[in-house]
């Protein structure tokens, strides 16, 4: 399996295999060359390899004449917010995000705090492949600067965005699992400032990840137990860098990561009808919620930059992805799990609600997510083959080919696409009935005929 992935979501790979210091240095040089120098912010999550990647990035950026500002370990959205405030030219977040600990990645941020879009990412790749990087002589090199106020700056923005006092009055008891990631310092502080009684686990930046950092129900078992034991009002789980948020109800039920955006959509559209932007693979529940509140849904290809740009372009109320990422424009145009926490706690405080009551208002769908790991050649060949057979016979479905293949029927849909972050095909099927969702996923899997596919249910 190819363990290096270069895509709209940045460059990511496994440290000790494909993600070498030379590769990182060259990508940093390419980014510095692409941005024609200027001020660049960098931050990292808590992976042990972060120190190595950080040095490689610093060296590559300085050599192309960039003024590097290192924020150290901090959530990626904190860096993105500070970046726009400082009028920096760009940023690099060093984080494998939701990927397991042995991965790491560079995620490239432009001056408006949004990740590079597909066109910009391909321009960056052209610079990388051409290998002709800007070389700056000794008397035009900038000194490395370090700042540690990114979290404070982020918190002060959040204070303006939410009704702080109302939340403080409720004195929530909140359980959190930071996965020993980049949120370990900020989240307990954030919640304490919100007057919460915080019960936190895995909040040490010195420790290894206790489980995979993707906040899916299977990775929230520890948090589920904590919520129950502490009788918390709600539980929150972070990925490694503060982009994705997972939720456990006060009853101890870990929610599918798809529900994070659905819940925040329910909250935000109930306050203010309007447009919600999400990607093709995100739950149909979003459409029903929007319909109920008289709002609309715009679907984009997968990738945060697509969603963020669309949110900005159409002035959407919010955006996000089924992976647990929520964009609230009043905070910033990027996945920000702190803004999502603020939105949820504010609603629960103002409406004297329990989170399970909020969940009851989300339409029920069954979603199946399957990851078919395979070689890149097999992946593209089989998707190509399926695409041509669909063009011949769409099986009565509505076809969307803007990112992979999405087939929708009145009672369900299935989306087949190659992952931006790993060498695998993602098959996502959703229907009101579990059996129908299963059937759709089974059909896709058998039609793909991946010889060396091994089933890898999440």
């Amino acid at each position: 399996m190819n363990l290096l992935k270069i895509s709209i979501s940045g460059v990511r790979g496994i440290v000790g295999a494909t993600f070498t210091p030379e590769l990182v240095v060259n990508f940093a040089q390419a980014f510095g060359t692409y941005l024609e120098s200027g001020k660049i912010l960098i931050c990292r999550d808590t992976r042990p390899s972060g120190a190595m990647v950080r040095s490689a990035v610093i060296s590559g950026l300085i050599s192309t004449g960039c003024e590097v500002v290192d924020l150290g370990i901090c959530p990626t959205p904190s860096m993105q917010l500070l970046l726009t405030n400082l009028n920096a030219r760009g940023g690099i977040a060093i984080s494998g995000g939701h990927n397991p600990e042995e991965w790491n990645a560079l995620k490239f941020v432009r001056e408006d705090g949004i990740y590079l879009n597909a066109l910009q990412a391909s321009e960056l790749l052209d610079v990388y492949h051409q290998g002709e990087f800007n070389k700056v002589p000794w008397n035009r090199l900038f000194k490395l600067r370090e700042r540690n106020d990114a979290i404070e700056h982020h918190l002060s923005k959040l204070r303006q965005n939410f009704e702080w006092e109302a939340i403080r009055k409720r004195r929530f008891r909140v359980a959190v699992d930071c996965c020993n990631g980049a949120c370990s310092e900020m989240t307990p502080r954030f919640l304490e400032e919100l007057g919460c009684n915080v019960v936190s686990i895995n909040d040490s930046v010195q420790e290894r990840f206790p489980h995979d950092p993707n906040p899916t129900p299977s990775n929230m078992q520890q948090l589920r137990a904590l919520v129950k034991a502490s009788r918390a009002d709600i539980g929150f789980a972070h990925d490694a860098d503060g982009e994705r948020l997972g939720i456990v109800t006060e009853q101890g039920t870990p929610l599918s990561e798809e529900w994070t955006l659905a819940i925040v959509t329910e909250i935000e559209l109930s306050k203010q009808p309007g447009v919600v932007v999400t990607n093709l693979s995100t739950t149909q529940a979003i459409d029903e919620i929007a319909l109920r509140h008289g709002g609309g849904v715009i679907r984009t290809p997968i990738g945060q930059a697509y969603v963020a740009e669309m949110v900005k372009e159409v002035g959407a109320v919010l955006g996000g992805e089924g992976s647990g990422g929520v964009i609230l424009p009043k905070t910033q145009f990027t996945h920000d799990s702190f803004a999502a926490i603020g939105s949820i706690l504010e609603f629960l405080a103002l409406h004297q609600n329990k989170v399970s009551e909020l969940v009851d208002r989300i339409p029920g769908f069954f979603m199946i997510k399957r990851n078919l790991a395979s070689s890149p050649s097999a992946i593209y060949a089989s998707i190509q083959e399926l695409r041509s057979s669909i063009e011949f016979d769409a099986k009565g479905s509505t076809v969307d080919l803007s990112d992979g293949i999405k087939l929708s029927w009145p009672d369900g849909w299935v989306h087949i696409r190659d992952s931006n972050t790993e060498s695998m095909i993602r098959v996502i099927a959703e229907a009101r009935e579990a059996a129908r969702a299963e059937a759709l996923a089974d059909w896709a899997q058998s039609t793909l005929r991946l010889e060396d596919a091994h089933l890898n249910d999440q």
């Binding site: 496994i14 440290v15 000790g16 295999a17 070498t20 210091p21 030379e22 990182v24 240095v25 060259n26 040089q29 992976r47 042990p48 390899s49 120190a51 190595m52 990647v53 950080r54 040095s55 490689a56 610093i58 060296s59 590559g60 300085i62 050599s63 600990e101 042995e102 991965w103 790491n104 990087f133 070389k135 700056v136 002589p137 000794w138 008397n139 035009r140 090199l141 000194k143 490395l144 290894r208």
Partner: protein
């Protein structure tokens, strides 16, 4: 003028011009080779003050961390401090980020082994072989160690010197010492050392910002500011260092440079008059060393050019002192490295012991005249040049350790190819200038005929 080709990967490490040949990728690969070579052991890293030092340092960190090495970051400090700390911390090796006496746009990696010495030519060949094969050790995520900042370098180095030598009084008073640190790696430590030695310090160029006010090689033409400072301030002595503070040049109280060769001669004479011991130096260093050793009935051993050749011989022979004619003094009792701080300490104590002005101590040294020439010579012609010279001088006393050295009773000539450039170096020393010049002309003429 920009050199056409600036990159040099050799047994001396890797060297090049920033913004031209010395890219972060190359530096990272070199560090990966070194980390692989040292089996992921602890590595101490330090740098001189060059503006490119931070970029180079992080490229080095990335490479070392990727191979699983724990890294100790001394940041800006003299190269001899790095060498001392490698030993003190029990590290597997060290990397000094410095282009030493080269101009400001250059930078380089110098590679240090666990005993504080630089890699010898065999070890350097092994390292280069790893570099060229590109098969570096790849630490997995959880095997990657952290960089630890360590600010104990200069304090440890000072402590080590002061353990052996205390404050000096000259004829019952404090000495006034002028220094020029070239805004290099000695900028912080040198004033501290002099204060600890009880001297009054007048200094220029002690801002460690890497903006060199003059070329950092401590040769007489770069010492005019220091000479003036000595005269104006009435200092008893002036000291100048190169960018990484391994080499030392001295200016007498009269405001004249005493010549780089005399730095080692003074140190040797000071030590030998107190105790017996072997002296090691290279083939191109002044005959004065032999004359001094003879007076005290001590032995001199000559080695090939290159600091590591001197230090390895010193180790084997348990030498008392050694060094090179370029201002590099090695006194193993304090530090097994060329160390300008040690040179300063020994010279000041020599002045105190004899209660003599520095110019008098220099006048008492055996007097020789030095002529140095370089001739372009492609490497494939080196052998035939040397062979023809051997035929011409076959009746005389020859030393073939490193190129060709012809020894006469009161003079010598050394002809060898450079380790770093396609040139022949011709060094002639004699009792007077005319003899030295005449012999040098004779050799050059013969090489032109060849």
């Amino acid at each position: 003028m920009k050199p056409i080709r600036t990159l040099k990967i050799s047994i001396s490490g890797v060297r090049g011009v920033i913004g031209d040949s010395l890219s972060p990728t190359l530096l990272t690969r070199f560090a990966e080779s070194f980390g692989t070579y040292l089996n992921s052991g602890k590595i101490v890293v330090g740098r001189d003050t060059r503006t490119s030092g931070e970029m180079v340092k992080h490229a080095v960190f990335a490479g070392l961390l990727a191979t699983g090495c724990p890294v100790v970051d001394l940041d800006i400090c003299p190269v001899p401090t790095i060498q001392l700390m490698v030993r003190k911390l029990g590290a597997r090796g060290g990397i000094a980020i410095t282009a030493s006496h080269n101009p400001v746009e250059w930078n380089a990696l110098k590679l240090i082994r666990s005993d504080g010495c630089f890699l010898n030519s065999y070890q350097a060949e092994e390292l280069l072989s790893i570099y060229h094969q590109g098969d570096y050790r790849k630490a997995r995520n959880h095997e990657i160690k952290a960089v630890k900042k360590n600010s104990q370098g200069i304090p440890s180095h000072l402590e080590q010197i002061l353990k052996h030598y205390g404050p000096v009084l000259w004829k019952g008073r404090r000495l006034k010492v002028a220094i020029d640190c070239c805004n290099g790696a000695g900028s912080v430590m040198t004033p501290e050392l002099l204060q600890a030695l009880g001297c009054d310090v007048v200094s220029i160029n002690t801002t460690p910002d890497g903006i060199f006010p003059h070329p950092p090689e401590p040769v007489p033409q770069n010492l005019t500011d220091l000479c003036q400072l000595v005269k104006e301030s009435g200092a008893d002595v002036g000291f100048a260092q190169d960018a990484d503070a391994d080499r030392l040049a001295i200016v007498s109280e009269k405001g004249t440079p005493i010549g780089e060769d005399n730095t080692l001669a003074l140190a040797v004479k000071f030590l030998l008059r107190q105790e017996q011991g072997t002296v090691v130096t290279n083939l191109s260093t002044t005959q004065a060393i032999d004359d001094i050793a003879q007076v005290f009935n001590c032995r001199v051993i000559r080695t090939r050019i290159g600091e590591v050749n001197v230090t390895e011989t010193m180790k084997k022979e348990k030498a008392l002192i050694g060094g090179e004619g370029n201002g590099g003094v090695i006194f193993p009792r304090i530090n097994f490295a060329r160390d300008s701080m040690v040179g300063i300490t020994l010279v000041l104590h020599y002045m105190a012991l004899t209660a003599s002005p520095l110019s008098t101590l220099v006048e008492e040294l055996p007097r020789y005249y030095f002529v140095k020439h370089t001739l372009p010579c492609p490497s494939f012609r080196v052998r035939s040049f040397l062979n023809s010279l051997k035929e011409i001088y076959f009746r005389e006393k020859l030393d073939l350790t490193d190129g060709l050295k012809i020894l006469r009773p009161d003079s010598w000539a050394h002809i060898r190819s450079s380790n770093t450039e396609p040139i022949m170096r011709i060094v002639v020393e004699a009792r007077n200038e005319e003899t030295a010049q005449a012999w040098a002309r004779e050799i050059i003429a013969m090489m032109h005929d060849e």
